[in-house]
């Protein structure tokens, strides 16, 4: 009985790890600024949201994603609600892919992810530049997109590993 209870506690901790990671990433930003690398940055939140919306939609609630977006706006200093919108569009794209996919494939997921982040960043760039009068560095954004796309392979495998071996549910992809 004790063992079952203990397992349940561990399972619920594992269950909240994606949400915790999402909030840590928006509050802390995994963009490697501290290493002083000029041409390197990636958006960890995009990878996390897309992966979990696609593979385990029940792990990240939309409301958490919405709140994380608000937090991200406050930390980064962009107009409030913008990141939430981007995150939710990403979720929508992931949900659409999940609905039309019969046989999941990492390469297809990645290509769809690339298309989605390209659209999202275009919307972000357009909104910030033309509506809110923020000036953005186009080159920095392209670098961010490229590295986010490349890191999707790595993090996707890491999350698969986490879901398969630690959470123990063999339905991660």
């Amino acid at each position: 009985m004790n063992k079952i209870r203990k397992n349940n506690i561990i399972q619920s901790i594992y269950k909240y790890i994606p949400v915790t990671l999402l909030f840590i990433s928006v509050l802390n930003e995994f963009d490697f600024n501290n290493l002083g690398l000029i041409y390197f940055s990636f958006n960890f939140s995009y990878i996390l949201i897309f992966y979990y919306s696609l593979k385990k939609s029940e792990s990240l609630g939309y409301i958490y994603i919405f709140i994380a977006g608000l937090f991200n706006d406050v930390v980064v200093g962009t107009p409030i609600g913008l990141s939430s919108l981007m995150y939710l569009i990403l979720c929508g794209a992931a949900a659409y892919l999940r609905n039309i996919t019969l046989r999941p494939n990492l390469i297809k997921d990645c290509i769809f992810f690339l298309l989605t982040i390209l659209i999202i960043n275009s919307i972000l760039f357009t909104t910030l530049n033309f509506i809110f009068d923020y000036e953005l560095n186009y080159f920095d954004q392209v670098i961010n997109i490229v590295f986010t796309f490349l890191f999707y392979f790595l993090f996707s495998n890491l999350f698969d590993f986490f879901e398969y071996y630690l959470v123990g549910r063999n339905n991660a992809g």
């Binding site: 919405f66 980064v76 962009t78 409030i80 939430s84 000036e135």
Partner: protein
């Protein structure tokens, strides 16, 4: 064709409207909600502003706590890096210190003169509000470079106040909450600062480029001649946004090929390592050139005079020291030469003494041989006398005594 469109519509509808397990809101509902949020916040809707301020206060504090481990690693990394670079840095610092000490006094004079002239043209600003703040968040994302400090409207922080780090310009306050404020760094692409390039007094507008660099966007005079030395970038004070003369960065010589292109400004401060900053505002000094300010001007004048005298004394002392050093070196050289000469002569005397000694011995030998011819038979041992054996010391003594006796008689 019709079926495929239906599939697409069904998939979209399912993705956006269907609430999954444990999802309380549909995606479409939340998207509309965030768009509403965005529109209302852009219209400065009061209710949204209150929510925003509330979230700001919570998020800034939580972000500070969440960033704890990262900051710990970052600080340790910087510490270790500093430790490795300590020796080289120390050597460099010593050289720099010697150089700067020399410059210090001249700078004081220039500052005083500057104050005097600024007072004359009524452009002298004094700091009227100064607050030291701690950096809570320094998340300089690739898109926006800003920091959040732990002082807000409660501590009289106002929009547009200047933020300095050890006298160097860091940015300006762009958002004020009750306990916290956001500072837009000068490295941000959105910050446009009127600057002045020295030497040459070239006016320009600087914008942020990346973490440690800015870029000159608009240079007033397009046909400037080339300046082949490092250029200091200071705030020009144009537009009244910043006080003039706050140092920002440097343009290195090799970049000064032609000033009318986009030039890179290397900032003096490292914005990744900001811990405490000073938030200041400046205002014009109240008193103009009335009787009181004339007294002040006289005071400044006398200070300049005093400093000039000090500098003159220092210059003379330095000159004297230089001469004394030269003399000391000269005397030391002479001393070395004389010491060598003394050793050489000493050796020569010793050689001469040896030769003399040998000569003396030879002369005595010659004298003895000569005396031996005359008196040898009187001292030589034979069968019938009890004299000395030839070659012995007694024989030699006897021969010499006989010669001496003969000489005396």
């Amino acid at each position: 064709m019709e079926t495929s469109r239906d599939d697409f519509v069904i998939a979209i509808r399912s993705a956006l409207l269907k609430k999954g397990t444990q999802q309380r809101f549909s995606l479409l509902g939340l998207i509309f909600f965030s768009i509403t949020f965005l529109i209302l916040s852009s219209l400065n809707f009061k209710f949204i502003n209150y929510i925003k301020i509330g979230i700001n206060e919570v998020v800034y504090r939580s972000s500070f706590i969440v960033s704890g481990p990262e900051n710990f690693i970052k600080n340790n990394y910087i510490k270790a890096q500093n430790h490795w670079n300590l020796y080289e840095e120390n050597k460099k610092n010593i050289d720099e210190l010697i150089y700067l000490r020399g410059k210090d006094l001249s700078q004081k004079i220039i500052t005083l003169e500057n104050i005097k002239y600024k007072k004359l043209i009524d452009d002298y600003f004094v700091g009227d509000n100064e607050t030291v703040a701690k950096v809570l968040i320094d998340k300089q994302s690739p898109f926006l470079r800003s920091i959040v400090i732990n002082k807000g409207s409660k501590n009289n922080i106002e929009l547009g106040m200047i933020v300095l780090d050890e006298g160097y310009l860091v940015g300006k306050v762009v958002e004020v909450n009750f306990f916290t404020s956001r500072v837009l760094l000068i490295s941000d692409i959105n910050s446009k600062i009127p600057v002045s390039l020295q030497p040459g007094d070239i006016q320009a507008i600087m914008s942020g480029k990346d973490k440690q660099k800015g870029i000159l966007q608009y240079v007033r005079d397009k046909n400037l001649k080339e300046i082949n030395e490092d250029m200091q970038v200071l705030t020009s004070g144009s537009g009244g946004m910043f006080k003039s003369g706050i140092p920002i960065g440097k343009i290195y010589t090799d970049q000064n090929i032609s000033i009318n292109k986009n030039k890179v400004v290397n900032f003096h401060r490292d914005f990744d390592q900001l811990k405490y900053v000073k938030v200041v505002s400046f205002s014009k000094e109240k008193n103009f050139l009335d009787f009181k300010s004339e007294d002040d001007a006289q005071k400044v004048e006398s200070k300049i005079e005093e400093s000039n005298q000090q500098q003159e004394t220092l210059r003379i002392l330095l000159e004297q020291k230089k001469i004394a050093d030269e003399i000391r070196v000269k005397i030391q050289k002479e001393n070395d030469f004389l010491r060598n000469e003394r050793v050489r002569l000493k050796n020569k005397i010793l050689d001469q003494k040896k030769i003399n000694q040998q000569n003396k011995i030879q002369t005595e030998e010659m004298k003895f041989l000569q005396m031996n011819l005359y008196y040898g038979h009187k001292c030589k041992k034979r069968a019938l006398n009890n004299l000395y054996k030839v070659g012995s010391a007694e024989y030699r003594k006897c021969v010499l005594n006989k010669a001496l006796k003969e000489k005396n008689e």
